[in-house]
């Protein structure tokens, strides 16, 4: 267990490339801090869904959110443009193998973790779709915080908020849309 924990420790000091490539200070956000934000967001989205009568497998969701970026401990935080050159399939395959290697020494969890990771990549389950939505929402909350602090040049991120329904449907789609609308409204107030 310890060797996996030591390796994941690296995510605390790994800055998100999206910010540094845009000239923001190196300490802006670590991958670990982002994963924390995604997991919290996924939990709150799902609690809202539950309150509105939609069943979510919470344990599954929290685990998935927690582990969805672990492969970055070996591959780094590839910028979005990197995928255009490496190819989405190659990237996914590489991340999956790296993930396996990271958890490979932990017998008590590796099978389950791998299954959750694949579930997330396929976006088939409601939980996977919610984690993806949480991934984007946490990104936008970070963008909003940076913009409120004076940062500029981050407009491209808001396009996602306008498009994406994350394959969600029904109440899940409704809840995510509400949050994105609030975010867009908060963003509009800045300038």
């Amino acid at each position: 267990m310890l060797s996996t924990l030591i390796e994941l420790q690296r995510l605390k000091n790994l800055g998100r490339t999206g910010w540094t490539l845009r000239g923001l200070p190196a300490g802006t956000e670590s991958v670990a801090a982002h994963s924390f934000g995604v997991t919290v967001t996924a939990m709150m989205l799902s609690d809202e869904l539950t309150a509105r009568g939609t069943v979510v497998d919470m344990e599954r969701l929290l685990r998935m959110a927690l582990l969805h970026d672990w492969s970055e401990a070996r591959i780094g935080d590839l910028p979005k443009t990197a995928t255009d050159y490496i190819g989405a399939d190659t990237r996914k395959r590489a991340e999956l193998v790296a993930f396996d290697d990271i958890v490979g020494g932990f017998d008590a969890g590796k099978a389950l973790y791998r299954q959750l990771y694949e579930d997330y990549e396929q976006r088939a389950s409601l939980e996977a779709q919610l984690v993806k939505a949480a991934d984007v929402i946490d990104l936008l909350v970070q963008v909003l915080a940076l913009e409120r602090g004076g940062a500029r040049g981050l407009d491209e991120f808001w396009e996602v908020a306008n498009e994406g329904n994350f394959e969600l449907q029904g109440i899940a789609q409704e809840v995510v849309k509400e949050v994105l609308q609030s975010l867009l409204a908060a963003h509009a107030e800045i300038d």
Copy 2:
């Protein structure tokens, strides 16, 4: 929901005071990154327990780990010495009220979150004790990483590893002890 997420976003940029007071660089570890580490560690500890036949309420555990430091968004990361002066009780009460205020606008979760937070503070349940153990283990994995990178003067942290059983019993105590032993062994190898 959004106002809570925006407030918790602050934890990504809030450095852990323990490091800065010891002269380590400001970006060493954020509270959010630490919370990520604690939640991951709690999950892995519990998966190991499950493998050895001990039942853990995983959803409860993950939620608790995720939210145990939220009050720091309003109170900051108090150094250990601060508690000596403010008083452990005052600190706990202050953190509880701050926690309530942070989650207060989120009707779908606030009652449950508060209950989990109190559970954690009382350390009565197995889950609370495991999260506390995970809190210390993540701290020590960070200390180990810093020491491997060349940092010195962090010896006092290792005393906890020698003492604490975190009120755990049986298999839980056994598993936590094993991890602490591996950590101490890895620490001993450094110098």
Copy 3:
């Protein structure tokens, strides 16, 4: 003497929480740098007062400005919101005891330092009131510098400039008001 100096050294690496909680980079301002700014400001305010015929005990003032934040070496830089939860009285008492412990080993100064610290906390003397005014002015000069550099979301700080007379009277009040007016004018020019 050395053990006190070593402990106060920590203030050089302790970031002011007000900035990090607002998303500004970790190295924005240390507590030591702020104390320097406050002491310089207090000196200049008092030299202006002297020039206008008001007597200030300069030695007393400089000492007081220099030591007013020493307790943060043990308690950390509590954000303003922390006081709402801990209580202003508890906070003051905690800081006083921490202060005593920090200077306790320095026989040649501890009695005087403590007396000056209490004087500052009570704001009864002209010198204490001037140091408090200097504390706010240095904060606003920092805010101005950050805003000129592009930072946003710091408007709340300017409210203090509009309210506070710091219990000052006569020429002291006049001088402080003039500086605050210049600051507000410089702030108004930014946007």
Copy 4:
């Protein structure tokens, strides 16, 4: 020309992943600073070669050193382990296409730049081999500087110094070997 310059500007703020994944502070070394070091090292190696009677095409060498990492402006600084998962060939192809896109708008240079980039990747010319040697030497000089400053856990880097002859021969091999020997000697002196 300007759009290429703006894009390469990003390399000044892109930290080298090798350091952050090992827990070193985020500002340790940018890709641009490393490229500077490689180009300077390549120039000095070649001036030494010239002094010993070996002809080097200096213009070609300097250009090659300068541009050998440009693709990182779009792909990021992939850690070494990333190549294990993505595959060396995929990585090279991706970098080549990214390189083409970065210089694509600069008619006066793009053909030559691309040719130099491919030359570097193939390591067929003496100049390409010297740039590769300079790449490793600059890395080791950085490692040495970090170790002298107190960093630990960087031993794996020194293995390269023991192995690699970079396909160099004759006097070039001799000169590079001398520098590597000096580096190893300086490293040995630290502990």
Copy 5:
């Protein structure tokens, strides 16, 4: 050779004073990263000149760009205002002697390097003038990047773009003017 390389290594961690004195984060730009930018810019300017029929000694130009700031490893990055007090002549003489001392141990290059350094300081050759133009262009590309990221208060830098023709003439003047015009246009678009 190694002792020179070790000394120049310092430039990777030496921040440009112009940014820190204006309140920008410490890691904004190192001297080494700036030298990389200048050399790349000089190369591209000259390739454009070549395409328009003007002959440039490229090897000379690249070497000169690479080494024009080496003296800062011993003197530091003096802010512009420092020259007003130290005197331009004193500064130049000091930098020349420091430069000599830095390269003094490298017999295979020191004579040539020194000659190139003096050539740069005298701005008599086309190459020296192009490197100076590249020095300013790289500065302005950095300013542009900072402004796009939200920084303000950097207007004074743009005045250089309006004045300076860098003693260039003919096609060289034309090319540099075009780049400066594009930069001014990009700057004008920001607000």
Copy 6:
């Protein structure tokens, strides 16, 4: 007054070149934080002297300590090696004129400040000699803190502790010597 305060504000963000040139992180210590340390140290040294029966003009001493580095707001923090090239006299003259320009707009203090600054530069008074001793002691306390944190390669700083008596005599010399001895002892304990 405000324009002087705004200019001195820069010292909070100006890193001490001695650390960055030795590869330590950029945020290690600001000039403002160092000035705070020097002033505190000067105060404590003098309080010890007073306790042993030696009269110190405390107001004069504190003012002098506070302002002894103000010229760096315009000249930057020149590394020690810079003085070798610029010349100690040129440096002193430059700093004096820069100092005058910084305080020039503050009629209520400029004459006194200038006189104190010259007094410090001449080291004729007991107060000036104590501030110089405090300057070195604060430097060594910082070195000690860095070394305790794991930094290496700072040995040259300790030579000062062995030599310098700072032209002090009698009890002043005795007190300073005691502090330096304690520092050397603490340093010796590290390894």
